[in-house]
C-alpha cells in the first residue's frame, strides 16, 4: 500500500468536485429532500397522535441520517469507479503502478469525504428545521457510524464488481444495491416488528445490529456492546468477501480479455 498513490487518486476526485459544483449539489440535494419530507411527516404524525410518539422524531431522523451514511459510503466507492469508466480513464489507471488495494482505498476515502459533507449539511438542517440536535445522539453512536461506513464500502465494492462483470448495462446497480437490502436491515423499524420468518435474514447483515444498536443507545443512553461487536464481526466478513469478489471479477475480466473493452467502450 502506497499512501502517495492513494492520495493522488483522491486528489483527482477533489479536482473533479471542485470543478463541477453540480456534483456537490447532488451530495447535498437528495439528503435535504429526504430530510425535509420525512421531517415534516414525522412532525405531522407527532401532532396527531398521543405522547407515546414523543421520541419518534428522534428515531426517525436518526435513522434517516444513518441510512444516508451507508448510502453515501457505498456511492463513494461505486461512483468513483464509474467516474473512471465514464471518462475512459480506467485503462490509464490499470497501466499505472496502482495496486487494486490502493485503488479501492482511494474510493473509500472519497466515500468518507462524501459522508462528511452530507453529515454536516443534514445535521445543520435537522437542527435548524426540526430542533433535532445530532449531538444529542450521544458519542456512543460514533462507533456505529464508523461500522456503517465500512459496510457501505463493502456494498460499494460489491456494486462495482457487478458492474465490472456485467458491463455498463449494470450501471444502475450503483444506486440500487443499498436499496436491495434496505427492507431487511431494519432501518426504520425493529427486528421484532418484522415477520418472524424474515428475522434471521435481518441478522445476516451488519446494518441490522447497527440500527438496532442505535435505537438502543438513543433509548437507554448507554452503549450497546453486543450490537457493536456483532456489527464489527459481520463487517470484517463482508469487507473481506467483497474485496475478494472484486479481485476475482477483475481477474476474470483479465482472463476473458474484456478489461480493455470495458475500459475503452
Amino acid at each position: 500500500m502506497n499512501f502517495r498513490i492513494i492520495s493522488a487518486l483522491v486528489m483527482r476526485h477533489l479536482f473533479l468536485y471542485s470543478r463541477t459544483p453540480m456534483r456537490m449539489v447532488e451530495l447535498v440535494f437528495w439528503p435535504l429532500v429526504d430530510l425535509v419530507v420525512w421531517g415534516n411527516v414525522t412532525v405531522f404524525i407527532q401532532k396527531n397522535s398521543d405522547a407515546k410518539f414523543g421520541g419518534f422524531i428522534l428515531f426517525f431522523l436518526g435513522a434517516m441520517i444513518l441510512w444516508d451514511i451507508l448510502f453515501r459510503a457505498q456511492q463513494g466507492v461505486a461512483i468513483s469507479f464509474l467516474e473512471d469508466v465514464w471518462t475512459r480513464n480506467l485503462l490509464n489507471i490499470f497501466v499505472a503502478p496502482v495496486r487494486t488495494a490502493e485503488y479501492l482505498s482511494s474510493t473509500f476515502v472519497v466515500g468518507f469525504l462524501r459522508i462528511l459533507i452530507t453529515c454536516v449539511v443534514m445535521s445543520l438542517v435537522s437542527w435548524i428545521g426540526y430542533s433535532f440536535n445530532i449531538f444529542q445522539l450521544q458519542w456512543w453512536l460514533v462507533p456505529f457510524f464508523l461500522n456503517l461506513m465500512v459496510f457501505g464500502w463493502a456494498l460499494g465494492m460489491i456494486s462495482t464488481a457487478l458492474i465490472l462483470r456485467w458491463g455498463q448495462a449494470a450501471e444502475s446497480l450503483a444506486w440500487a444495491v443499498p436499496f436491495f437490502i434496505q427492507p431487511v436491515v431494519c432501518v426504520f423499524y425493529r427486528v421484532e416488528d418484522m415477520p418472524a420468518w424474515s428475522q434471521p435474514i435481518a441478522w445476516l447483515f451488519p446494518a441490522t445490529p447497527i440500527f438496532e444498536g442505535m435505537r438502543e443507545v438513543m433509548k437507554t443512553g448507554s452503549m450497546s456492546w453486543n450490537h457493536l461487536w456483532l456489527a464489527a464481526g459481520l463487517n470484517v466478513i463482508y469487507l473481506s468477501l467483497a474485496g475478494w469478489l472484486f479481485v476475482w471479477v477483475l481477474n476474470l475480466t483479465r482472463k476473458r480479455g474484456l478489461l480493455t473493452k470495458f475500459a475503452t467502450q
Binding site: R4, I5, S7, A8, L9, M11, R12, F15, L16, R19, T20, E83, D84, T87, R88, N89, L91, N92, I93, F94, V95, A96, P97, V98, R99, N251, R254, K255, G257, L259, T260, A263, T264
Partner: protein, 259 residues
Amino acid sequence: MSAPDTREVILEARELTREFDGVKALDRFSFKLHRGEVLGLLGANGAGKTTAMNCLLGLTLPTSGELTAFGLPLQANRIKILQRSNFSSAYTALPGNLLVWQNLLVFARIYGVPNPKKKIAELLELLEIPHLQKRVTGQLSAGESTRVNLCKAFLNDPELLMLDEPTASLDPDIADKVRKVVRKVQRERSIAILYTSHNMRDIEEVCDRVIFLHKGKIVREGTPSDIVAQSSSDNLEDVFIKIARDGEILDEPKKDSAV
C-alpha cells in the same frame, strides 16, 4: 543479415498465444525488444496488435506463453514493471472533466515523479502545448488530446513505452511533429518502444525494426528497408497490402466461387 542485437532485452514474449472463443488472436508470437529500440507492430485490422499490447501490459491474460519485462516474469511483477513503463493510445483519454494540468499532476503523483510541476512544464514545452495547460481536457481536439496523452506517457521517464496508434486522427503536420518528438525523446533516453500504426510513413520514420502480424502470426520481420528490399514491392505500403491480401487468399477456402 544483421548481427544479433547485444543490447539489454527489455521486453520478451515467448510463444505468446491468446485465444478468444477458440479463435487465435495471437498464435505463438515471440519477439524481443531491446533497450533503445523502436519495434513496430504491423498488420491488418484484427491482426492481433492491440491484443499483443494488452497482454504485454497485463490487461489481458495470455492463453499460454511467457512474458518478461526487465528480465522479470510479467504477472508476478506487474507493479514494479509498470512503474518503469508507460502507455498511450488514441482510444484512451484522460478524464475529460479535469483541466490538463490537473490530469497531468494526478498522474505525476501516481508515478511518484519528483518535482512534478517542473516535469509537466518541460513536457508541455517539448510537445509544444504549454497553451493547453489550463484547458478542459474533454474540450481538446483529437490531435491536442493525443499530445496531452503523450505527456502523460513520458511523465515517469519510462524505459519501456507502448504506443498503440499514437498518430491516429492527427493531421499530417502534427503527426510529423509527434513522430519527431517521440524519436527525439526515445534517442535521448534510450527508451524501448513498441509501436503500432497503420501509417507506413510513421513506421518508416520511427521504427528500427518491424514485425508483420497476420492473424496473430509473424509473417515478416526486419528493418523496414530490409523488408521492402526482400519483396517485389518498392515501398512498405505495398508490402503491407500484399501481406494483408495474400494472407487472406491463402487462408480462406474459396467457398464463394459458385456465387
